[in-house]
């Protein structure tokens, strides 16, 4: 039986069954793979970079989908966002004003919203359609999406690594990143389960006895990852 996070010294420690830890690690690897496919799709020549989301499958072929813990070092741009100082941990996610300066990554280039709704949930538009001028959301996305993607990939890759240890030990510095990785997993599961409203979320609580086997399985996973994230938030709150 799994036990949620407790602070022990400089770490947050949870005890998961090995099978449970492997499930969560596989989910993190799956989300990482979705983001990798987005990166590869965007590395196509400029004139092909908009509107090609439907071809993600072909860009995907090089990834070894059987690997439980994909190497994150092989991506061409993995050195682009080296973690900064640990004192401002969001900068370790690659988030800083400097990355957003006009011209840093491409002026008037545009990038289309991902066609996969789960990927679009991970990488939403920066401006609501009702507030945007023509092409504004696509221009903002071209400037900023690589930063968001890179931060998420680092957090997910770290989560995959941490989840191989038993018990699960998350260094205090990594706890916010680990929480964000769990959150990204939940966002993707929620999209696959069709959670759009609070009522949908309630319905999922009862979906353990759904007739659809896949829904039942996804609902169990969603419930488990939600519990794990909530237990980390509780442990983080207690500390203060």
């Amino acid at each position: 039986m799994a036990r949620g996070f407790k602070r022990q010294g400089a770490e947050y420690v949870a005890t998961l069954d090995k099978a449970e830890a492997r499930l969560v690690a596989n989910l993190a690897a799956d989300v990482l793979e979705m983001l990798d496919s987005r990166v590869q799709e965007q590395e196509l020549p400029d004139d092909a970079s908009v509107g090609l989301a439907g071809h993600a499958g072909s860009a995907h072929a090089e990834i070894d989908t059987g690997a439980a813990a994909p190497a994150d070092e092989d991506a061409a741009d993995s050195s682009a966002a080296e973690p900064a100082g640990e004192d401002r941990w969001w900068e370790a996610l690659g988030l800083s004003n400097a990355d957003l300066m006009p011209g840093a990554s491409g002026g008037e280039r545009r990038r289309a919203r991902p066609e996969d709704p789960a990927l679009a949930r991970l990488l939403p538009d920066l401006i609501a359609a009702s507030d945007a001028t023509e092409g504004e959301a696509e221009r903002l996305r071209a400037l900023t999406e690589p930063v968001v993607v890179e931060g998420k990939r680092e957090a997910l890759a770290e989560a995959v690594r941490l989840l191989t240890a038993h018990p699960l030990k998350v260094p205090a510095d990594s706890a916010p990143r680990f929480a964000s990785a769990l959150n990204d997993i939940r966002l993707v599961l929620a999209e696959r389960l069709g959670i759009e409203t609070a009522e949908d979320a309630e319905r999922i609580h009862g979906a353990e006895d759904s007739e659809d086997e896949m829904d039942r399985y996804l609902a169990l996973l969603y419930g488990f990852v939600s519990w794990l994230q909530e237990s980390l938030m509780t442990a983080l709150l207690k500390r203060r």
């Binding site: 988030l95 004003n97 957003l100 507030d131 900023t144 929480a179 939940r186 949908d200």
Partner: protein, 100 residues
């Protein structure tokens, strides 16, 4: 009574526009999402913006109950960085011009 050395008619308008630019022309809007845990949203507000527990919780509840909340305001660059950070955490956030 002295005569102004130079007082172009258009000056007040230009000055107002400049002031507006320099103030807080952009807003960060965070939207409700049935997936994100309330504890997590409050945690993000607290740790990223440095808000007090009370302020972070109040904003989180406003997002939850009203469907959205204005969480920060500032220059375009500042708010773009905030939106990117919120997306990094998995929150649904957008920027909006204050006069929109």
């Amino acid at each position: 009574m002295t005569v102004a050395t130079s007082a172009p008619v258009a000056a007040p308008i230009e000055a107002t526009e400049l002031l507006h630019e320099l103030e807080r022309p952009y807003l960060l809007i965070v939207w409700d999402d049935p997936v994100n845990l309330m504890s997590y949203v409050a945690f993000v507000f607290r740790s990223y913006f440095g808000f007090s527990d009370e302020h972070a919780n109040a904003l989180m509840l406003q997002v939850h109950e009203d469907g959205q909340a204005m969480v920060s305001s500032g220059t375009k660059e500042r708010i773009e960085a905030d939106v990117v950070a919120m997306h990094g955490f998995g929150l649904q956030a957008t920027l909006r011009r204050a006069d929109a």
